[in-house]
């Protein structure tokens, strides 16, 4: 168990939507990770597709860099695409 790899699990709840991160599982290999993810996260029709990714392969931003990375330039309104109206038929975008 201690040597099993940690995998992050992504579930797509229906066609057309994105895969969303739902949690993680331990597994000996990626095939087992898919099965373990299925047992934990999709037994009640929660999804139509699963991705698993070894957690170690994910590069994450550091909380210390919060300001430089994420603080928005609110005074530059042209950066925000808020002036367009989306037709109903476009759906999820």
């Amino acid at each position: 168990m201690s040597v099993w790899t940690l995998y992050e699990v992504f579930v797509r709840s229906k066609h057309g939507l994105n895969h969303k991160h739902v949690g993680s599982v331990h597994a000996a290999d990626s095939a087992m990770a898919i099965e373990n993810a299925r047992e934990l996260y999709t037994r009640r029709s929660e999804g139509v597709s699963l991705w698993v990714v070894p957690s170690a392969l994910i590069t994450a931003s550091s909380p210390d860099e919060k300001d430089p990375l994420f603080a928005p330039a609110d005074d530059k309104v042209y950066r925000h695409a808020s002036f367009y109206e989306l037709p109903e038929e476009v759906g999820h975008m």
């Binding site: 168990m1 331990h26 000996a28 099965e35 373990n36 047992e39 934990l40």
Partner: protein, 253 residues
Amino acid sequence: MNTQEDLIQYLLLLGDTALVQGQRLCQWCGRAPAIEEELALMNVGLDLVGQARNWLEYAAELLNDGRDADDLAFRRDEREYRNLLLVEQPNGDFAVTMTKQFLYDAWHYQVLEGLCTSSDTRIAGIAAKSLKEVTYHLRRSGEWVQRLGDGTEESRRRMLEAIPQVWRFTVEMLSGSDGETRLARTGFAADPARVAAGWSQQVATVFASVELPVPAAANYFYLSGRRGLHTEHLGLLLAEMQYLPRAYPDATW
């Protein structure tokens, strides 16, 4: 024996085998090597208990003697149980558990696939529903056999010990009762010869993929789950499973 009687025996074979295997798997609760694996084992177990309910409900209706599926599960003694001998064997280590599971799943898959076209529509319906679950069970247990067989030195050693330990019980997967053969002729049951051939091929393929030797075909011996002649392990399993409803017949929850 008439068709009705053959059919009841067949439904008991399917239901009891699923039920006993489900009960065995649930004995891993709290003891599995990882929480993910424990969940998976319990899920497979619960699938099988659900399937057993479907088969036993049908059997109870045909028996028509006032007993329901719960009575069949909890108030029959081992001599009246018709499950395959393989599934009543103790869990042993994880290699034994997965070897048993795989050998059973491979048989179960073949049987259900045959039953999807049963001339009895109720059987065909239950089989189609169960086959989806069992396709997954077989994939999972097959991968475990490969993973352990081709894993570490230790896991391979354990697989090589596990297979001969339970192999003799597979004799029951290679042949059916006379009743099953009769039912198969009228399209009610899965053809035992086809099940045996499909099972042998599936097992040979998975074993060969990780160079696990397939033992010679098992020989007949004096015990037979189909005739209610069980190993000593079934009585203990039933004692645990049936204790509560037998001790407190009026219990509800």
